[in-house]
């Protein structure tokens, strides 16, 4: 091979389309005769529906149809359970999935009640004002603790409480561990995540072809194959009659998986009924209620520690807000429960959670998917222990790291992929060392901090560790095909939302087939191009689909060598694949191009040997036995303005190990973006609900996504511990940047303001200038 693309910072194939405005996003789909849908959504969180009058809306010129839940007839069904509960003994799980339109009862603000279809979106929205809905408001369940009180109203009337799930997992014996402890620390932690808020909202376009009896759906989904299969089922069609296309998608971060959103169910049905294409694009206000959130947990956690700082055991009891429905099962709280353990030896663990229904939008995974919540609890407990035991915060972490000879490391509890939580490989101490060196840890504490403090500046340091279970199964597949023009086409079933799959997968193919990376065209997210797959989530695209692409390319390579050896009547060992052709070693002028081989693989005349498949192509699948565990350390030096409590991040370091790296440029981009979302979560973004479940800051002017002024420059470094679970040695990296930022900020802000000396502890996320001010004021007053 002349050039090796795998591992190189190859610039992206997909950029040109995106930079010139030529990429097709959902709202760019324009079809003749297309109608537009708008949804009437509840403005209250909890209510009985008494009556809906749509008669005036139906009469408005330009309105084509208006549908309520009753018009759906038998089509009205609660959505499927996307992820069933894992096989954990004693688990309680109450499945209550979302409905396509509210029928009798409203369970959260923004729940759709009526859909209007009109000649334009403007007219459809006009008609929403014509609809009269008579509601009897009910008291709302907003607070998860209050929601468990006997007197609380019930989100689901057929349940005798608001308990969605109850799960206990244990490792070792916490009680005996605690009996041996020199110190037991017990605290209450609150961690709120937020909304993913991709800059492109969601959207669906459905086009029914009555003559062909075929449905085409463009959907901003992260999981097009699941959407196809599910919609075919409820529409009464075969899977082959439905094509789902996830075009260029403007950011996903998790919530674009949740199926089925009411709009995904509505649009194809409407298109079939009216026999016209119909489009719905979510507006930003809708996004705040109609797209899933990831929200809060309250942890009552305790850590049993030995005098030398070693963790003897952890007990954690937490509440998890699942929102009005639980279609995504227990993925988020299970992730919290499992990821809390981090890169540390924890001999005893006793973790129980209760998931609680509330009258708030549905909770499903958003980048990190509950891992943040667990990491916050662990990292803060370690900080508290370090302080009590007078051990340096970085040192207490080092003393507890799983040693490099202990892998694969078993944790005796069940992870979100239903497999035992086992870390496949890792070498944690060098990651911590590199991070401490890059941030200048020792020098900062010894020299810089005292010097800056003497100048009256409030500057602190933080260091936080995490692991991330990535690359879970079940499987992905890929079809690699050399075309007669020599270009290679690759199709895979996952969707793509900016992760650079058009380039990273092309790098894998280019190396195997000896072509340039720009000669490889990748198709993702079109179910007619690739039939099977699961989707893009859990940092699994590169791991699972990447290995399928590699396997299919490898088989195509073998086929190419076989064809060429037949053509040249030589041994395959005498052949070399490079520069788009196969040539004889040492005789470069004796060659045959990959395009010619593709033609030879599909002859017009002559006999094809038995057992031979036509075409220079292969379809292969890859399914890992379990997820691959990545790890990392973030460190930061943060200055706090003691008057305004605004932050300035003076230095931010990420050292990360995600196994073998396909494209370090794309990887860095993933880390940068993850950290930015983590910073938003830690200090800027907060969903503010009132006690009736109204979101008070449902606009981007009020819900603060960080800008270029809030996000610091980041310094990145990597170590490489390949995963033994896949041939390429890859671990996922998509969520890593977002996971440890909360505890890192809390630690650094405490240090900057010397809060430990004032007996102030930052045990909640998100923080904000006003919240840090409140907490410090409260302590000063008391």
């Amino acid at each position: 091979m002349t050039t090796r693309f795998f591992g190189a910072p190859v610039k992206r194939n997909e950029d040109r389309k995106l930079l010139t405005g030529q990429a097709l996003f959902i709202d760019d789909v324009e079809l003749p005769g297309m109608l537009h849908a708008a949804f009437l959504r509840s403005q209250v969180a909890h209510a009985q529906i008494k009556q809906i009058d749509v008669s005036r809306a139906r009469k408005r010129p330009g309105v084509v149809a208006v549908y309520t839940a009753h018009d759906y007839g038998a089509y009205w069904q609660p959505g499927p359970l996307l992820v069933p509960p894992p096989p954990i003994p004693g688990i309680i799980f109450n499945q209550r999935t979302q409905v396509p339109l509210a029928k009798d009862k409203i369970r959260h603000v923004g729940e759709p009640i009526v859909v209007v279809v009109a000649e334009s979106r403007y007219i459809a929205e006009d008609a929403l004002d014509d609809i009269e809905v008579d509601l009897e408001p009910l008291p709302a369940v907003v607070d998860i603790e209050a929601g468990l009180a006997a007197a609380s109203p019930h989100v689901h009337d057929d349940l005798d409480s608001n308990i969605a799930a109850h799960v206990r997992q244990t490792k070792g014996d916490y009680r005996s561990a605690a009996a041996k402890a020199d110190l037991i620390l017990k605290r209450r932690f609150r961690y709120e995540h937020g909304i993913s808020s991709p800059i492109e909202t969601r959207g669906v376009v459905a086009q029914w072809n009555a003559r062909g009896r075929h449905m085409t759906i463009w959907d901003t989904t992260q999981a097009p194959v699941f959407v196809r299969n599910g919609l075919a089922g409820i529409l009464g069609l075969g899977e082959r009659q439905v094509r789902v296309i996830a075009p260029f998608v403007g950011g996903g971060f998790g919530p674009k998986i949740m199926m089925f959103y009411p709009e995904e169910v509505a649009l194809p049905w409407i298109s079939m009924r009216l026999n016209r294409p119909v489009k719905w694009i979510e507006d930003r206000l809708e996004h705040f209620f109609a797209t899933t959130h990831e929200r809060g947990q309250i942890h009552d956690a305790e850590m049993a520690v030995a005098r030398d700082g070693r963790i003897l055991g952890i007990k954690d009891v937490f509440l998890h807000d699942t929102g009005a429905y639980d279609p995504y099962g227990l993925t988020v709280p299970i992730n919290s429960q499992c990821t809390l353990l981090g890169p540390y030896v924890v001999p005893a663990y006793d973790s129980t959670f209760t998931a609680v229904f509330t009258n708030l939008p549905i909770v499903t995974p958003y980048r990190g998917a509950g891992r943040q919540h667990g990491v916050f609890v662990m990292e803060r407990l370690l900080d508290l222990a370090a302080h009590e035991l007078k051990i340096d915060p970085a040192e207490i972490r080092r003393r507890n790291l799983i040693p490099s000879d202990a892998f694969p490391y078993k944790n005796d509890i069940i992870y979100q992929d239903f497999q035992p939580l086992e870390y496949d490989s890792g070498n944690y101490e060098p990651v911590l060392d590199k991070a401490l060196e890059a941030i200048g840890y020792a020098k900062f504490i010894r020299e810089e901090q005292p010097r800056l403090r003497a100048q009256g500046r409030c500057v602190g340091i933080g260091v936080a560790c995490y692991v991330e279970g990535t690359g879970i199964g079940p499987y992905e597949g890929a079809k690699v095909q050399v075309q007669a023009n020599g270009k290679v086409s690759v199709a895979t079933g996952i969707g793509t939302q900016g992760q650079g799959h058009f380039t990273s997968f092309a790098q894998i193919v280019a190396d195997q087939l000896g072509v340039d990376v720009t000669e490889v065209d990748i198709v993702t997210g079109d179910t007619d191009q690739f039939y099977w797959g699961a989707g893009t989530f859990a940092s699994r695209g590169a791991v699972v689909a990447g290995n399928a692409v590699n396997e299919a390319s490898r088989v195509v390579r073998q086929k190419a060598l076989k064809l060429a050896s037949d053509a040249f009547e030589c041994s395959e060992d005498d052949l070399v694949i490079a520069d788009g052709k196969v040539s004889i070693v040492g005789i470069p002028e004796k060659f045959i191009t990959m395009g010619e081989l593709a033609q030879r693989a599909n002859p017009i005349r002559g006999a094809v040997k038995p057992g031979t498949e036509p075409g220079l192509e292969s379809t292969q699948y890859f399914g890992p036995p379990m997820g691959a565990t990545a790890n990392g350390v973030h460190a930061a030096i943060i200055e706090v303005d003691p008057q305004t409590f605004e932050l300035k991040v003076l230095k931010y370091v990420v050292v990360h190990d995600c196994g073998t790296v396909i494209n370090p440029m794309i990887l860095a981009g993933q880390i940068h973006g993850g950290v930015a979302q983590g910073i938003g979560n830690a200090f800027y973004e907060k969903l503010s609900f009132d006690d009736q479940g109204q979101l008070l800051n449902a606009s981007l002017a009020d819900y603060l996504l960080p800008t270029a002024l809030e996000i610091p420059r980041m310094e990145l470094d990597h170590t490489t511990t390949p995963s033994p679970l896949n041939p390429l040695g890859i671990k996922g990296a998509g969520e890593a940047g977002a996971i440890p930022v909360g505890p890192l900020f809390a630690q650094a802000i405490e240090d900057a303001l010397e809060l430990k000396g004032k007996k102030i502890e930052l045990l909640e996320i998100p923080l904000s200038p006003s919240r840090v001010f409140e907490l410090t004021r409260k302590a000063e007053i008391s």
Binding site: K11, E30, G669
Partner: protein
């Protein structure tokens, strides 16, 4: 019942368009769905995210905060007009490619338009000035760092290219 349409004439990327539009049609919707210039993206429809930024007579504006009728008689530039007619990328586009300044690419058009105007005004910006100019455009994928680097590189490329 149907509102009276208004005749408007405007230029986009050097091409003149004449259309009859309802007074309430947003400029962003007009560009995307009437003129089929869908490279301008809409992210929030309340003027915060900056994805829909275009140039109106050379100055960046949010096309979601303007009505199409208000653009009557004006010269507009959108992302479709940035590369030259041979397809050669504008230095700002090229730098975004070189520095991995885009991931999903949805906010990109607005950033390109905001920053081309900014770099014309300030050909030698500091990193902080770039960050300030960029702070009216939200990006959820990149963490901004590579965009900032791209803009500093683009500024240099534009200075070198300018006589």
């Amino acid at each position: 019942m149907q509102p009276e349409p208004h005749d408007i004439e405007l230029s986009v990327n050097g091409t003149t368009y004449r259309r009859a539009v309802e007074s309430r049609i947003l400029l962003s919707d007009f560009l995307r769905h009437d003129l089929l210039l869908a490279g301008t993206h809409v992210g929030c429809e309340h003027g915060v995210c900056g994805a829909c930024t275009i140039l109106l007579d050379g100055s960046p504006v949010r096309s979601c905060l303007m009505l199409a009728v208000q653009a009557n008689g004006h010269e507009l530039s959108t992302v479709e007009g940035l590369a030259n007619s041979d397809g050669e990328l504008h230095p700002v586009q090229q730098a975004m490619h070189d520095h991995h300044g885009l991931q999903c690419g949805y906010c990109t058009a607005g950033i390109l338009m905001t920053m081309t105007a900014f770099l014309q005004e300030n050909p030698l910006p500091s990193e902080h000035e770039v960050r300030e100019a960029l702070s009216g455009n939200l990006c959820r994928c990149t963490g901004y760092q590579n965009i900032v680097d791209a803009m500093l590189a683009a500024a240099q490329a534009m200075r070198t290219a300018a006589p």
